[in-house]
């Protein structure tokens, strides 16, 4: 009968609570957000994620100076180049600072494939914040400083290699992060607008209204999601300008999400409505408007914040998948999804594995949002464990 023992798994260890750990007036007078922050701060992965995402969003906004070239700038005869090797020591082992060798293009007579060989005789030092192609910072300030650059006569620096049209993948990835990282916000905004409004109405009014809204949601949920997405996305005309396509995709992404959120909002409202302090407020004369904005919503915000952080990665993944299929953002606009489209075939990837690099950005961004969501979930209700 005896089997190997598993360790005791009694009542889980009480999660540490800042309320018992720190004492003193500053804790007693700390608001919900302060308590949440103190709790959140203790989640290391989430804190790292905040920093990483901060850097990613900064780079997305500041893509121009940090990119080496423009998003559509082509280098003829330098198609499908592997990532440039940055060197510090030359052949003789002498330290030369960061530099790159020249690049020699040759064609393999047997396979007729283009290969690139480093030309050790030419050394081009890398300059930081060198002058490059001009651009407008944040769309306003004309500038021409780029993060790195070589002398004008030198070969280009392809940090992530170049694609089959000879465009710099690193620069394109940076520009692409604008659409990919920010599409989440638009989608989340719409999802929340519908989710909160309809869920709120259902939960607050109850009765027939509630019934009707809930049935609509039930119906929406039984429509198969992926075909719905594909059908809707296919309906977006290919020739629309980027901005319009962007918004169309945003709307499509949020159509699927709002039902679940509305349900959750309704459930949460229904349970909050039952709290004694809400009843007390009604008894001492709080009117519906005050009840909603002063009692229900504030107790709801932390919960919504958690929902936001876990829906953004969903949006990022959605955009990537749609664009990957060719149903989302259309070239020449760049997003991580459109960049990955070039890596659709294994035969391509086998030749140019660096085309999968934008995928790493997707994974990291989504992972970081999930970490933050995890940390926020732990911190969202600082009163639960008193």
């Amino acid at each position: 009968m005896e089997t190997t023992e598993t360790p005791t798994s009694g009542p889980a260890k009480p999660e540490s609570s800042i309320l018992t750990e720190e004492t003193g007036e500053h804790v007693y007078t700390a608001s919900q957000w302060q308590l949440m922050w103190w709790q959140f701060r203790k989640h290391k992965a989430a804190m790292i994620a905040v920093v990483v995402l901060g850097v990613m969003y900064f780079l997305a906004l500041m893509a121009e100076p940090f990119a080496v070239y423009g998003p559509t700038q082509r280098f003829p005869r330098l198609e499908s180049t592997a990532p440039t090797r940055i060197r510090f020591f030359d052949e003789t082992g002498q330290f030369r600072g960061p530099f790159i060798y020249g690049l020699e293009r040759s064609i393999d007579p047997e396979t007729i494939r283009v290969t690139f060989v480093e030309d050790m005789s030419k050394i081009y030092p890398i300059r930081f914040f060198a002058e490059g192609t001009p651009y407008k910072l944040l769309g306003l300030f004309p500038m021409n400083l780029r993060l790195v650059g070589t002398d004008p006569d030198g070969p280009p620096i392809f940090l992530f290699g170049s694609d089959r049209l000879g465009r710099d993948l690193y620069s394109r990835t940076l520009y692409g992060s604008r659409i990919s990282l920010f599409i989440g916000f638009g989608g989340v905004f719409l999802t929340f607008f519908f989710g909160i409004t309809l869920g709120g109405i259902a939960g607050y009014l109850g009765g027939t209204v509630d019934e009707v809204i809930m049935r609509i949601i039930d119906f929406m949920v039984s429509i198969p999601q992926i075909p719905l997405w594909m059908g809707l996305a296919a309906a977006v005309p290919r020739d629309w300008p980027v901005i319009r396509t962007y918004f169309a995709i945003t709307i499509i992404l949020s159509i699927v999400g709002w039902g679940g959120l509305a349900r959750a909002v309704r459930g949460k409202l229904l349970s909050l409505r039952e709290e004694d302090y809400v009843m007390a407020a009604r008894v001492y004369g709080a009117r519906p408007r005050r009840l909603i904005f002063k009692y229900l919503l504030p107790n709801f915000m932390s919960y919504l914040l958690v929902s936001v952080t876990i829906s953004i990665p969903f949006m990022i993944l959605g955009e990537t998948a749609l664009s990957f299929l060719g149903l989302g953002i259309q070239p020449p606009a760049v997003s991580w999804g459109t960049l990955l489209r070039d890596a659709q075939q294994l035969t391509v990837v086998a030749q140019r594995p660096w085309q999968m690099i934008p995928g790493a950005f997707v994974v990291v961004a989504v992972l970081m949002f999930n970490f933050i969501g995890d940390g926020l979930r732990d911190a969202a209700d600082p009163y639960a464990r008193i």
Partner: protein, 339 residues
Amino acid sequence: MPEQKNQRLLEVNDLKKYFPIKRGLLKRTVGHVKAVDGVSLYVNEGETLGLVGESGCGKTTSGRCILRAIEPTDGEILFNDPDTGWVNLRELEQEDLIRVRQHMQIIFQDPYSSLNPRMTLLQLVGEPLVINHGIRGKALEDRVAELLKSVGLRPEYLRRYPHAFSGGQRQRIGVARALALNPRFIVCDEPVSALDVSVQAQILNLLRELQENLDLTYLFVAHDLSVVRHIADRVAVMYVGKLVEMGETDEIYPGPRHPYTEALMTAVPRPDPRASKDRIVLEGEVADPANPPSGCYFHPRCRYAEPICAAEPPVLREITEGHFVSCHRAEELSLIGVA
């Protein structure tokens, strides 16, 4: 309004609260839980009426219906408004209700759920004043500080949030909030049941002190008969949504007239090893309020039951002055109480 009521503050007639039972996808109503099923009672000015019974008997629902904190299904709730005289709460529109209810407040059982965790003490206790009188700033702080002092909390705590306080202190905050509007009448809904034994006494003493100083009237809802004996002038006993007995505390405890009251009183374990162990142990279970037995709801468990008890529901009647019982055999039985 009739004159003999001039010392009464509240009179409830035939109060009912039915919760529909909904089944199936179409949510059809298939029956009702009769949580409160025709309760009539009154509370005199300056007294405490204890409303007792076991869980699910409808005592808390009654207390909340009286304030219209939840909407009653039927009945009359007459309140002697100090400004306008008798009003029926059931007939008031929202704005009138809000005005009248300034005189009627509530204290809850759960010291955690009853305080909004996102508000400081100043906001928590001050809200009623802000909403009803528009008091703000220094005046509000002074008034809240004064209220905190009156419930035994230090006024320096104004900026603290409820998480800084223990259960007993939170209950004091709840009391301060109920007092903010200078009410005449407070529904105390099991205010000490969630507290530790050593803190219970503090809150009970506080409630009595406030009653004496501020001339308050309490409806004290509780399941703990010892606590009720200690605080209530009169007691009303409920069983499955109905009132079975009501009268002076000093009369009912030693001499109950309803068999259920007798069982309830004697069942309480006494903190005295030498006390008599005479007790009535009831058989069976409390009746289901969705599907109650015929006649007197208590008859299946009653050891004095006779055929009439199964056939006819008894009515609440006054057997001696101020002592109401709903039992067919109230006059003939001699029951044990607690002395």
